[in-house]
């Protein structure tokens, strides 16, 4: 650190006052901006909370359990959206976790030559870079027809199960969940792979030296050692899935009715906001801000837990 060096150094040439204050000013500027990053988080919470205040006063915590969303009667309840957010994220994780962890294992061990692996890691990263609205547009054109076909089969043969009880109408919980799965996959892969790669090579060598096969090493030594990192990656993926807006809005059908069937249209908090905000006024804006506050708190909890878990792994092996 430069500041340490400076203070320890004998001052052979004393600086002018202006020079000194310029230097101190620069350090203070960076300090303020550095702490400013944390302050922004706080300001976001305060702004959203302040704008949500009228709705919080009007509906209280009952807002979380009300299931009617009717701007005309000024009745607002967020239960269908909270349910939709949780279920669509769960579907996303169901798809992304096995695929992501499998891909991470395949790309962290030496199954493939290094240049090929580097290229594939890059391609997985690219998956995260495609704008979500493009995923949404693609989902409408390609994914919904495919999933409708599968949905018809599921409804025809397993219609007695509540989750397949309605015939597919096109957009719905399942296509939204699938697209969220595709979008969370790269982050789960990247973080799981990071935690596998950062394990000390001695672990691997010791296990192989004892005569364990490659996959025994992976299952009994590497995955348990990197487990908390992988869990952290999954939580970050969950945070991403809950907050993802555009793809979900375009594919979920935006129905504020609570339905158990994954083939029926539903809604998430984020897609509700994207849909109604532009036309909302008065108490509806406050109600939307209230849902935004709920989403912010949910993702904040998930993200903070994830960050903490991931940092624990780094601390363990550094």
């Amino acid at each position: 650190m430069i500041s340490d060096n400076n203070s320890a150094q004998p001052q052979s040439r004393s600086r002018s006052g202006a020079e000194k204050s310029l230097d101190q000013g620069f350090i203070w500027l960076t300090r303020i901006l550095g702490i400013g990053v944390g302050v922004i988080l706080l300001v976001i919470a305060l702004t959203v909370g302040y704008r949500a205040l009228p709705a919080i006063q009007q509906y209280g915590l009952g807002f979380l359990f009300g299931s009617s969303w009717n701007p005309v009667k000024e009745e607002y309840g967020a239960l269908p959206m909270i349910y939709g957010t949780i279920v669509s994220s769960a579907i996303a994780l169901l798809i992304a976790v096995p695929l992501g962890v499998g891909t991470a294992i395949f790309l962290s061990e030496d199954f493939l030559p290094l240049p090929v692996r580097t290229a594939l890691v890059f391609l997985v990263e690219l998956l995260a870079a495609i704008p979500s609205v493009v995923y949404g547009l693609w989902g409408i054109a390609v994914l919904i027809p495919i999933i409708s076909t599968i949905g018809k089969f599921l409804n025809g043969n397993f219609g007695w199960l509540p989750i397949f009880s309605t015939p597919p109408v096109g957009p719905g919980m399942l296509p939204a969940g699938v697209i969220l799965g595709i979008m969370t996959l790269p982050i789960i892969t990247a973080i799981s792979r990071d935690s596998l790669v950062s394990l000390p090579p001695e672990l691997r060598q010791a296990s192989l030296g004892l005569g364990a096969t490659r996959w025994t090493t992976i299952f009994r030594v590497l995955v348990p050692a990197a487990f908390s990192g992988i869990v952290g990656g999954i939580m970050l993926g969950l945070g991403r899935a809950m907050g993802e807006t555009m793809a979900a809005t375009l594919l979920i059908g935006n129905s504020n009715q609570l339905s158990l069937s994954v083939l029926a249209p539903a809604n998430t908090i984020a897609s509700l906001m994207a849909n109604q905000f532009a036309e909302a006024s008065g108490l509806q804006v406050a109600a939307l801000m209230y849902t935004g506050l709920i989403l912010f708190i949910l993702t904040l909890i998930v993200n903070i837990l994830a960050e903490w878990i991931v940092s624990q792994v780094r601390a363990k092996y550094n």
Binding site: T30, L41, V48, T103, V133
Partner: protein
Amino acid sequence: MSNISSDDRNPYASNPGSLKKVKGSPQSLFNIAMTVLAGACLAISLLPLFAVLSYVTVQGFNRLNLDLFTKLPPPPGLSGGGIANAIVGTLMTVGIASLIAVPFGVLAAVYLSEFSKGQIARWVRFATNVLSGVPSIIAGVFAYGLFVVNMGGFSAIAGGAALAVLMLPTIVRTTDEALQIVPQDIRWASVGVGASNYQTVLQVVLPAAIPAILTGVTLAIARAAGETAPLIFTALNSPFWPAGFDKPTPSLSVLVYNFATVPFKAQKELAWAASLILVLMVLLTSILSRWATHKKVY
């Protein structure tokens, strides 16, 4: 692995001295099966990437002409037209976002890697990571509550502020990492010849880290240009040329969102063309940044 020797079906058991792989043994078959399974995970993961890229290219390619970059979108029902206003609008909002986020982020990272120590730096890094997990729509709501409500309307400035919040963590993180890679010796050398802190940072350390910082910044810009959710609340949209930084402003991503669900053929085509432009931009910056990170100053 104690179970290896205790397993009766294990071929090693008959010849404990041999470390050779036995073809057809349960372990070998299990290994092959697992390798195939993991490889299949990778293949399935990459399937959507190729599906999206090829589909967007096929759908968007035939609308990729000069009109696209020079004309306004046609009124509903008419054909032709372009997305020029949205391109200009995207440049405006992303430009404002970069003007805010790049100096802010780079200087915050300078603090983290050069001047901070201990707890505060840990907390700031933690806050940066948490901020990168904040949903983009919340950034939009924040900018709405802070700018749109107080400044009397939707504007490119509010949109830029929302995008800046989303760019900030990426820039802080990449710059922080880039600065930490710069060898300590050159700081000592700089301070040793009598340079002050800001001279050392601005003239020696930052220039050494510039390729990596630029990589982070371009990636952040590419991501911001593809963001839609925060712009719906802040810059809104407009079918006309942008009228000023304090007026509703169109953007490529919001145009894709709005035209994705309309029943008109011309609008649908424009949505695909705009998607293709967004995807090409992300692809190009990703590849360029890959190439740029290989260059090192020290």
